[in-house]
């Protein structure tokens, strides 16, 4: 399961970032932040004509020594980043995909909340709990 899940707004500021263990938070901030480079590159790499039927799932953004970083971009250019432990080899690409889909659905729910201001950090409890189910249980 994921060690860090982040939602990044169109303007590349974080809407939501959560990680386990919590003490290494800054490290994940750096990881996710730098992964945006790759995300942007991937988005811009796709031709304009193909933008419509673009695959939302970006796949592995980059592997680091300890983690693998996966990306997902909605059509409104909101980015989801999931960081998983490299040692966790049992995790398939398909599972990552389904995680992103779940995340996307939950995010859509958040956006549907009339009291949510687009661009504000996400504070929804429902979203939080969905994320929690995807995270590694902190020991």
């Amino acid at each position: 399961m994921a060690v860090c899940i982040a939602v990044i707004a169109k303007e590349n500021c974080p809407l939501y970032i959560r990680s386990v263990p919590t003490q290494g938070e800054l490290k994940f901030h750096y990881t996710v932040h730098t992964s945006l480079d790759v995300v942007e590159e991937k988005i811009s790499g796709v031709g304009k004509a193909l933008a419509d039927q673009r695959e939302l799932y970006l796949g592995l953004l980059y592997p680091t020594e300890d983690y693998k970083v996966y990306g997902y971009v909605t059509n409104s250019k909101v980015k989801f980043v999931i960081v998983v432990d490299s040692s966790n080899t049992s995790l398939r690409d398909n599972e990552i995909r389904s995680m992103f889909r779940k995340l996307h659905n939950s995010f859509t729910d958040v956006m549907c909340n009339p009291f949510y201001n687009p661009g504000d950090p996400i504070q929804s409890k429902a979203f939080d709990s969905i994320v929690s189910t995807m995270m590694v249980q902190a020991c």
Partner: protein, 1091 residues
């Protein structure tokens, strides 16, 4: 080889390496001046061929790197230029020896060398030597470049000869095996005769020749050689060299494809490598075009089919890198290859592949690296990421490099370098130190990372020994988050508003605490009412008429809405304290002390009086009033405010603030006016409800009481008071006021004008309250209770007056009725002093000072009831007035006719007044002896007698006069007559009404009253009429009269009454019956006097 050259790029493969070194003691700046001049000769066209030789200069080159010269010839030091100072001839031999020694360092690879000697003159310098050049001084060496060019040419000759030597060496019998430094021991004892070995030798040699061809400017040949080498080496699985051959192939192709070079970014750092600027001048034999990249490479491929396509270059690079990866000792080579590949990828704009390459670079283990090398490595990584557009990644590595600068293992941490590097990371984290960008919202996001960076900046700047910078950054940090340590620093180094310039040219703009506290609204306050200037009306019209021809236009309203700097419609006065109210709140979770808070203005000299405030943690909106004194007249604009928080001064301009509500910031300041201070002899009171008043007094008076109020006006301003006017205005009251409420005499005060500063004048004002308390509803009610039919029965008709027994026992003094009568009435008036003087008067301004006077009038004496009683005469009636003393004092009531009545406190007494037919103008004057004060009051009957009662009190318009025996008769008058004598009876009708009346008929009926209820009308034999007993009165016109004359003859003595009956006539029916009340006549008939 352990020192990687992070600046390597693919073109370096075609350069020849020349080391330029100082020898002995050479001043550094001088050396680098010479070095620069030497380095400017980076490419030399060879005279008789079309080829160009590229030179790469280094002033420092580790000899162990030189050992890799066989592996890749561009790593080989082929030339040496030594720069030395030599002042005397004696030193020369020694210098020469040292030059030899230096040559030996790179001896194995050197093609040629030069020695540049500066400062030596004399015969030694005269000698012509090719390898030594003598110059008198560092400034006087005009032909250095020429010398270097010659030197390069000589290198080229050697290079060319070597190339030809190797290329044509087809003998094949014994090809020397070229080795990388670490391989040497591996091949010891290997079978040198095997085919495998031979092939290996051949392949390596091919590759070497390829290198040489490339250096010698024969790109096509190089490509061919590389291709052959690749094939040969692939067959023998000589991976290291295969990698090198592939890399060579790539380099050659890159040079072919991108004549502009791939190292454009770091060109400035490498003076030895020609920059992109002179790319056009480069002449490459392999390339068709001499200037720039031809977009369509397919045309060239025909000519250069050996050249790799752009796609292939990357493929081959990857392959080469993977081969290098097999050898641990070739880490540096792998790393450099990676970097070169990244540069190519960057040009091809294939950022993702480049990033993968770079990712690989991170993992290449070069063994034990020194800290400096680590820093360099991270910096280069960061630069490369920047190159491929990965700004965040670049920032990350830059930050790592910065942290490496100050790693705890380093004995002397380079805080300056760390700080410098940290500053460079800022754009990557989309941080801007300019607070202007702050409000634009660029700072959204990644707070944790940004915060960390700012913290590091603060720490670094502090360790750098620049607390000023630290303060600036901390201030900035504070704008985002909370930090309290700022105060400690500011005590040592106050944070100012000036721009801090760093030595490297970066400017740190001042950070203003616009969020500490947050200002929500700014409103300019009008002056207090008493100080507001009023324009003389005549002048006011001009400004309005010029604005628009319409009195009202909705269009102007719209345009005014968005105008921020609109003028406010009130004025401030020069020299007077003016106020601006800010609504602020403290968003911080701690108490915020704001000191020296003042206004920033323009347009007028403004003396801002700073305020200090302390805002509780996370306070709500909190009003702060900033004050100041305009020193000159004109238009003043409030631009912002300045604060001092935690010792950091900030200037906050309103235009830069978001979410500040302002109703306009420009206001006119009019010239100074005098100021009056008002004090009264009475204590101040709360303000009156409706009006804006400077002061007000209130007092309590009994109705009819008069009191004097002394108003003292003091000129407390600086200007001289020239004019003073006093007006009063009674505020709306329903009460009927008798007489003047306020009276004054201003003459005495005006004689004191002009009033200089500090002088005062006093004005006496008399307050008298004369109100009517009697005309209250309950009074009328009482009348009804008395059974006097207000509608039907005539009050004034004494004859028909039937009085029911009055309810005398009515509890007048009881609480209930006391409340009923104790209505306190309020009188309000405003005294307005209008004054002017000084410069403001010239401009037509004046000031108004208003004093509110409020008097609660208590009832003193008033009528509670009114009723009438019939008098004996038809011409009179009795008016009964119940007078009530509601005060707690004893009062004496005196009427016009000097009838005194003493009224005790809360006592009600009846006062009888005989009401004549004269119009009711009765006045009752009451006097009370209250302590020493004399209360004079006039009680007015008018109030009591409302319209209805008055109607009944008035005389009937038809006046009947009955004259018996020549004597007018009324109720009480007894007419005397003699028995047997004819008694003339005359009835006279005078019409005082406005219309004609009549005709009427009257009948005189005599009767006798036995005083026991029996009335005898049967008097035919006792009284005889002479003539008719019935009179006829024809129509009587207004103001005319009609007289009917008859006569009576009394036959017996006795008391007789005559009842004159009015004969009902249909025509007169609409007239009220009261009009036809004729007096009854009492006639006393007596015995005739015996004469």
């Amino acid at each position: 080889m352990s020192v990687p050259d992070y600046m390597q790029c693919a073109e370096d493969h075609q350069t020849a390496l020349v080391v330029v070194q100082p020898m002995g003691i050479v001043p550094e700046d001088q050396f680098f001046r010479i070095y620069k001049r030497i380095a400017s000769v980076s490419q030399v066209s060879i005279r008789d061929s079309q080829r160009v030789l590229f030179i790469r200069y280094r002033h420092h080159y580790p000899p162990e790197n030189n050992e890799w010269g066989d592996f890749q010839t561009h790593r080989k030091v082929v030339g040496l230029i030594s720069v030395t100072s030599c002042t005397t001839t004696k030193e020369w031999p020694q210098t020469s020896d040292r030059f030899q020694g230096q040559k030996e360092v790179f001896g194995s690879t050197l093609y040629d060398s030069r020695l540049l000697v500066f400062g030596l003159q004399g015969e030694v310098a005269e000698q012509q030597r090719t390898d030594v050049a003598f110059y008198p001084s560092y400034d006087d060496c005009p032909d250095v470049e020429k010398r270097v060019e010659d030197f390069v040419e000589s290198i080229f000759i050697v290079l060319e000869s070597k190339r030809l030597d190797r290329a044509t060496d087809k003998s094949g019998d014994k090809i020397q095996l070229l080795c990388a430094p670490f391989e040497k021991k591996d091949f010891v004892g290997l079978d040198t005769d095997s085919r495998h070995y031979k092939k290996r030798c051949q392949g390596r040699m091919r590759k070497h020749v390829g290198d040489l061809c490339l250096q010698a400017g024969m790109l096509q040949d190089a490509l061919v050689h590389y291709h052959m080498a690749v094939e040969l080496l692939r067959s023998v699985n000589d991976f290291l060299w295969l990698g090198a051959a592939l890399e060579g192939l790539c380099s050659a192709s890159v040079i072919f494809h991108y004549p502009g070079g791939t190292a454009w970014k770091s060109g400035a750092r490498k003076p030895g490598v020609s920059s992109a600027a002179d790319a056009g001048k480069r002449h490459r034999p392999g390339a068709l075009t001499t200037n720039g990249i031809s977009a369509d490479t397919s045309t060239e491929i025909g000519r250069a089919k050996n050249c790799l396509s752009q796609e292939d270059i990357i493929e081959k690079y990857k392959e080469a890198i993977s081969y290098y990866g097999k050898y641990k000792s070739a880490g540096v080579i792998e790393l450099e290859a990676c970097i070169k590949a990244v540069r190519v990828l960057a040009i091809q704009k294939r950022a993702r592949e480049a990033s993968e390459c770079l990712q690989n670079v991170v993992y290449i283990n070069l063994g034990q690296l020194s800290e400096e090398e680590k820093i360099q490595r991270y910096s280069v990584l960061s630069e490369l990421y920047e190159l491929i557009g990965f700004h965040r990644k670049s920032a990350f590595f830059k930050r790592v490099a910065a942290m490496q600068c100050v790693a705890p293992t380093i004995p002397e941490p380079g805080w300056k370098a760390c700080y410098k590097l940290l500053l460079e990371t800022l754009p990557g984290y989309s941080l801007s130190l300019d607070p202007k960008d702050f409000s634009k919202g660029t700072h959204r996001g990644w707070a944790a990372v940004q915060l960390r960076l700012l913290h590091e900046l603060v720490y670094a700047s502090r360790r750098m020994g620049n607390p000023g910078l630290s303060v600036r950054h901390l201030s900035f940090l504070l704008k985002k988050e909370v930090t309290q340590s700022l105060e400690n620093y500011t005590s040592k180094c106050p944070g100012g508003m000036e721009v801090i310039s760093l030595p490297d040219g970066l400017k740190l703009p001042p950070v203003s605490f616009t969020k500490l506290p947050i200002v929500r609204s700014v409103s300019l306050l009008n002056l207090p009412v008493s100080l507001r200037p009023h324009k003389v009306k005549g002048l006011l019209g001009q400004g309005m008429s010029s604005a628009s021809p319409f009195i009202y236009s909705p269009i102007t309203m719209h345009s005014r809405g968005d105008e921020r700097s609109k003028k406010i419609d009130f004025q401030w006065v020069q020299g007077d304290v003016c106020e601006v109210q800010l609504m602020v709140y403290n968003p911080m979770p701690f108490e915020l002390r704001v000191e020296n808070m003042g206004l920033l203005t323009s347009g007028v000299d403004f003396e801002s009086l700073p305020a200090a405030l302390s805002l509780p943690a996370e306070s709500g909106l909190y009003p702060v009033t900033l004050v100041g004194v305009p020193r000159t007249a004109g238009n003043i604009t409030i631009n912002g405010y300045h604060t001092s928080v935690f010792g950091v001064s900030s200037d906050c301009l309103l235009e830069g603030l978001v979410g500040v509500k302002s109703s306009g910031c420009m206001v006119e300041v009019v010239p100074s006016l005098p100021r009056l201070q008002l004090c009264t002899s009475l204590p101040r009171s709360a303000h009156l409800s409706s009006e804006d008043l400077s002061t007000s007094v209130s007092l309590r008076l009994f109705n009819g009481e008069m009191q004097q109020l002394t108003i003292t006006l003091e000129n407390i301003g600086t200007e001289t008071l020239n004019t003073l006017e006093l007006t009063s205005k009674n505020l709306s009251t329903k009460e009927k006021l008798f007489g003047e409420f306020l009276t004054w005499d201003l003459q005495d005060a005006l004689s004191h004008l002009p009033l200089k500063s500090g002088q005062s004048v006093s004005i006496p004002v008399n307050i008298s309250a004369k109100l009517d308390f009697s005309g209250q509803e309950n009074l009328l009610h009482d009348l009804n209770d008395d059974g006097i039919s207000v509608t039907g029965l005539p009050v004034s008709s004494p004859l028909r007056q039937v009085l029911k027994p009055r309810a005398e026992n009515k509890p007048v003094g009881s609480d209930a009725s006391k409340n009923e009568f104790n209505h306190v009435k309020m009188l309000e008036a405003v005294l307005t002093f209008k004054y002017s003087g000084g410069a403001g008067q010239v401009e037509g301004y004046s000031r108004e000072l208003s004093l509110g006077v409020r008097v609660d009038v208590e009832p003193s004496v008033f009528f509670t009831r009114v009723s009438t009683l019939p008098a004996t005469s038809t011409r009179q009636c009795h008016l009964l007035l119940d007078v009530f003393n509601s005060t707690e004092h004893e009062l004496t009531l005196s009427a016009k006719n000097n009838q005194d009545l003493v009224l005790h406190a809360s006592e009600c007494q009846r006062y009888t007044h005989t009401h004549t037919q004269t119009p009711p103008s009765l006045k009752a004057i009451s006097q009370s002896q209250r302590t020493s004060l004399l209360l004079r009051n006039e009680l007015f009957v008018e109030g009591v007698l409302n319209q209805l009662i008055l109607e009944h009190l008035q005389l009937a318009p038809l006046q009947w006069d009955v004259v018996v025996n020549g004597k007018p008769c009324d109720c009480d008058v007894i007419a005397d007559c003699r028995v047997g004598d004819a008694v003339p009876l005359e009835v006279k009708l005078t019409n005082r009404s406005k219309s004609a009346v009549g005709p009427f008929s009257l009948t005189v009926v005599p009767f006798q009253d036995y005083q026991n209820g029996v009335q005898n009308y049967d008097l035919q034999d006792a009284v005889s009429f002479i003539g008719s007993n019935t009179f006829y009165i024809s129509t009587v016109k207004p103001t005319e009269n009609s007289v009917c004359v008859g006569a009576l003859l009394f036959l017996y003595t006795g008391d007789f009454y005559l009842n004159i009956k009015f004969q009902d006539d249909s025509t007169a029916r609409d007239l009220p019956p009261a009009w036809f009340c004729l007096p009854s006549v009492h006639v006393k008939a007596q015995e005739p006097v015996e004469l």
